[in-house]
């Protein structure tokens, strides 16, 4: 048994060493993570609970390429080969870097920004970190319980064609504008959220101005539901939505409204109905003409 264990350990170790080499190769390719993103930390504590929650998300979204961490069963047919996430190449990255990679994706790796929520993305990192015994987490200053205090207002300016988003925190009778908070503006669509411009940062008065596209269709009344996502260092993630009458009113008829050649009789085009009736009438007149001629023959014969 001990012998088996040893052999197993050796095997895993050699795989880890191998993957570390791979991992270094990958990290050698620069991910170009901006400094502020690199320093970002999670507001979710990495412990057994979050790691096991993250494992579920990982199995569903990541395992098909990255395999099970420390097992070395990555999808080797891909180029570049995705790294085993338990390898030191991955583990030496900061939480912020891992988070950035998860958000942006690169090459064959898709972005998970719109697929997983922020907390789910941190949980995946919690799971990945659970394979690193020497890892010590640095929590961010964010207090998720404070997010209730944040108020978001959206106003559309017709002259400048901008949506003014103001983010204010209500703290004991005083309202405090949030400076340098990340603001994302989306228009809600049937299947997803359409980002309006890139993300902006709020100024001293907690304001971010988004240039709104003039040609975006709304509903029948021209209403568009806007969704704002605010991410602040202290107050965490806040979402707010409003319906504004800023879209192009869209009321296109259903595709079966018009008469068409492929429709049932009730929907057949008028020219087909007319042509058909004309054909029947022509045939009828022809038959009557024949009968009349035959009758004339018979009459002449009688004479």
């Amino acid at each position: 048994m001990a012998h088996f264990n040893k052999a197993f350990q050796f095997k895993t170790r050699s795989i880890i060493v191998l993957l570390t080499v791979f991992g270094f190769q990958l990290t050698a390719q620069n991910w170009d993570v901006p400094a502020d993103k690199k320093a970002k930390n999670s507001y979710i504590k990495f412990d057994k609970t979050t790691a096991s929650e993250g494992e579920g998300i990982y199995t569903k979204n990541c395992a098909s390429c990255h395999g099970n961490p420390s097992k070395g069963n990555v999808l080797k047919s891909l180029k570049p080969t995705p790294p085993d996430l338990a390898s030191s190449g991955t583990q030496k990255l900061t939480d912020g870097e891992l988070f950035y990679i998860l958000n942006t994706g690169r090459g064959l790796m898709p972005s998970f920004k719109d697929v997983l929520s922020e907390s789910d993305r941190w949980k995946v990192i919690a799971y990945v970190r659970s394979f690193n015994k020497s890892y010590v987490q640095v929590l961010s200053n964010t207090d998720p319980t404070k997010s209730d205090k944040v108020k978001v207002t959206m106003v559309y300016n017709h002259e400048t064609n901008t949506v003014r988003v103001q983010v204010v925190a209500k703290e004991q009778n005083t309202s405090l504008p949030l400076k340098d908070a990340e603001v994302l503006l989306f228009a809600k669509r049937y299947f997803g959220k359409l980002p309006i411009e890139k993300g902006l940062k709020t100024d001293e008065s907690g304001v971010a101005n988004f240039v709104y596209p003039k040609d975006l269709p709304g509903n029948k009344l021209g209403e568009v539901e806007l969704l704002v996502k605010v991410n602040d260092e202290v107050y965490g993630e806040v979402e707010s939505s409003t319906k504004l009458k800023i879209g192009i009113p869209t009321d296109k008829p259903g595709l079966t409204q018009q008469r068409a050649i492929w429709g049932v009789l009730a929907k057949a085009p008028y020219w087909i109905i007319a042509l058909y009736l004309l054909g029947i009438a022509t045939f009828g007149v022809f038959v009557l003409y024949l009968v009349k001629n035959l009758f004339d023959f018979w009459k002449k014969g009688q004479q």
């Binding site: 719109d114 299947f191 595709l255």
Partner: protein
Amino acid sequence: MIEKEEQPKKKTRREFLQQLGIVGIGSTLGGSAILAALNYDKSKTDSQRIRVLTAQNELHEINKDDLHKVLPSKHGKLTYLQQQGRDGLEGKRFVMVIDLSKCQNARKCMAACQNAHHLRPEQHHINVLKMEETENTPPYYMPKPCQHCDNPPCVAVCPVDATFKRQDGIVLIDNERCIGCRFCIAACPYSARIFNWAEPLNAQVEKDVEYNVELNVPQKKGTISKCLFSADQVRLGKLPYCVSACPNGVYYFGDENEDTVTNGTTKETVRFKKLLEDNGGYTLMPELGTKPRVYYLPPKGKTVPFNEQDREEASEHLHHS
């Protein structure tokens, strides 16, 4: 003597036995007559019994009086699911965009589709084709679902109004109405339709499942089946099965009226017309005037090499000199 004659008549034993015999024989005869009459009546009702064929194709014999005519439902001759499936979603015009530069022949879309619509392994609503147009052009993979044409030739030829177009643009087939004539297969220029030649995969398990026209489940032998744009999913605001199963971000799906499409893999939402404009989007066989609702982006800037074994298959039709 005279006194004797005046005595009231007293029944002798002989007379009593005589009368008893008469009554006995009479009642026996009467009883058997009634019994015969009853038997006669019974034989008469037997001829009133009729044979009926059930929907499960079983022959039953029942009394004519027990026969009740089934009144048509609230929705006319259609079930609720059929009517809902025919109407479609108001104010929507669904479109799909397939980015050929990203397809790596993972075939997850095909598997998800077969799983959702309970298809046999050899049946496909969506198929990933291996394409090579000329000897000098590079080969590529092309997923091909039903094009959900705005001018559908298949609907035009259907003699029983089984296949139909909805207001949201989706073309469906009602397997309850289909008579299996296969005119639509002949009419479709995209070879998007399949025929259930054999008993469907889960025929035994699903024999009591209510038919859903937006899912084509349960499938029916001797009828057509085709890609449905996952009409059941779309009704719930979810992306089609194939779209969300793709691991490579090939598919975009959305509403043309909203001018946005959402990628099934990254869930990234982009402007529909801009996506086509920036990438040179096109439709298949536009010269036929079928006006497809499936758009393609050309296989430009592919990073993954084409599989060598697939290459032979892709170039089969080319004349090598």
